[in-house]
Amino acid sequence: MTTTMTRPVGTAGPMSPDASFSAIPFSRLLRVEWGKATDTRASRWLLAAVAASTVGLMLAPILSPSSIEQSYTSYLGFAAVGLSILLPVVAILTLTSEWSQRTNLTTFTQEPRRMRVVISKIVVSLILGVGAAVFGALVTAAGLGVAAASGRTLDADLGAGLLVAFVAYVLLNIMTGVALGALVHNSAAAIVASFVLPIGFALLGQASQLVANWLDYSTAFTWLLNGQWSGHTAQILVAVALWVAAPLAIGLVRTVRREIN
């Protein structure tokens, strides 16, 4: 095979053989991944469902003033739980959909440094998480406004520490979804796991105090949300290591190594 190109010396061809285009900047990856996470009908419905479940749960303390504590933290807690039902699913789909739809056959030929792609997906998930936390705070404020307008007295017990804990709680829930998605690479399996595992560990936790205290992350994250660090710091850190750091680390290695078919 010896076909040679004949072209006058010193003239550039219509296609330069120079491969020295600058690398794809991370900001561009981020923008593209943000688009992918939010541009499909499914993702928009899911985000709408996150919003709806948050607003829906906020109705509980408003409608049941006698049975539910009427305080700022109590209301914020409902927003946190409302956000955390489906936000991990948003993160899971952000991480898994390219495996399920097989689009990473294209994505990883556009950016073969797969770690950059995954990190941009994680950053997108965290941005969505921060946005969700802000939304949750606004819904809480609205809920408190409605409650105040109805003439209730509300305990204004919310400090900066608990607001930070709220944001951390939302982001950690997002990160459990991120870690699961990075590890499992399959949308359906990861979503099922994200619902079954907490229930499973909660049930085991009823049988074993050890499981309840150390392995059930919903308990540990609730301590975090309520600012109950004292006596639970180690347990919260173990939950983060076990449910976020470890699966994420294994998942990143798996993502970089896996062959794409």
Binding site: T3, G13, F21, I24, Q101, R102, T106, F108, Q110, P112
Partner: protein, 305 residues
């Protein structure tokens, strides 16, 4: 330019690709031909970093693919048109590719038009036919104005008009200095599209070279109403021949020393009328393809006989 040296890969104990060396030059279209399961797709996936070779190297435009800073600006890859997000429109799919490559999104409209999807651009890809996905995939490969195209079975799902369109597009791409590597299990497709050929069977390259060299038949077929005069003329010119049925002669080309022009000139000088003069039917690529790829089946038949 695509260069691989001794690419080798096994899955478990099964060798899938064995010592595959390719060399695709700018300005050429190389057809990568082999039956299904011969190792074409695995080789292509190794070229673009989606699969890791056990041994061997591959370079695109002089660099390992995974070291290209912005691959879409250098090489357009289409390995599977069904691997697209069903929920995204054609335009959205192409816009993502344009953003990734860092080119203006004006190029999206231009390419949608060029691949004939302008009217279907706002439909979701899930509703596209395979042919439409191939067109969208081709548009995706072209978005970064690359110099190399790597296409796995690009003719799949295209109608005859679509296939003709794609051939023109690839020919034009190569004529402007681009390098094309396309795979196919369809002989006629490769014959009509490519100018260079690599035939792969059971993971190993069994033939490679310029298409016309590989296809050159070893004999000419000559027909005349006056066989005696032609026989005398050929003998006088010391050209080897075998007389065939129906006043035909088969003339050996002796490795290219004897051409149709040689025979025409001999006949012209002796004023012998010829009614047919051509390379004898060798079955073209088909015969080559089957003789090469069926080689492993032949011994069994012989053993059975």
């Amino acid at each position: 330019m695509i260069t691989t040296t001794a690419l080798t890969k096994s899955y478990g104990n099964a060798p899938v690709v064995r010592d595959v060396s390719l060399h695709c030059e700018p300005g050429t279209i190389t057809g990568f031909l082999g039956p299904n399961g011969a190792g074409k797709s695995t080789t292509m996936r190794m070229l673009v970093g989606l699969a890791r070779p056990d041994h061997g190297t591959s370079l695109i435009a002089g660099h390992p693919f995974v070291e290209l800073p912005n691959p879409p600006r250098v090489v357009g890859t289409l390995l599977d048109p069904s691997a697209m997000h069903a929920g995204r429109t054609g335009r959205a799919t192409l816009t993502i590719a344009a953003r990734m490559a860092g080119v203006s999104t004006d190029r999206v409209e231009e390419l949608l038009d060029r691949v004939g999807l302008a009217d279907a651009a706002d439909r979701r890809v899930g509703g596209y036919s395979l042919g439409m996905r191939q067109r969208l995939g081709i548009a995706q490969t072209l978005v970064g104005d690359p110099q190399v195209l790597i296409l796995d079975e690009p003719a799949n799902g295209l109608d005859p008009e679509g296939i003709a369109w794609m051939r023109r597009l690839l020919r034009d791409f190569a004529d402007r200095g681009g390098t094309v590597l396309l795979s196919s299990h369809l002989l006629h497709e490769v014959q009509a599209t490519a100018d260079h050929l690599v035939v792969i069977s059971h993971g190993a390259v069994v033939a490679s070279g310029p298409m016309d060299e590989l296809l050159a038949s070893s004999s000419l077929l000559v027909r005349t109403p006056d066989p005696d005069a032609l026989a005398a003329a050929l003998r006088a010119a010391r050209v080897e021949y075998v007389a065939g049925p129906d006043r035909t002669f088969v003339v050996d080309v002796v490795g290219g020393a004897v051409t149709t022009e040689t025979v025409a000139r001999i006949a012209f000088e002796k004023q012998v009328l010829l009614t047919e003069l051509r390379h004898s039917d060798s079955g073209g690529l088909e015969q080559l393809f089957f003789s090469l790829t069926a080689a492993d089946a032949a011994p069994t038949q012989e053993a059975a006989a």
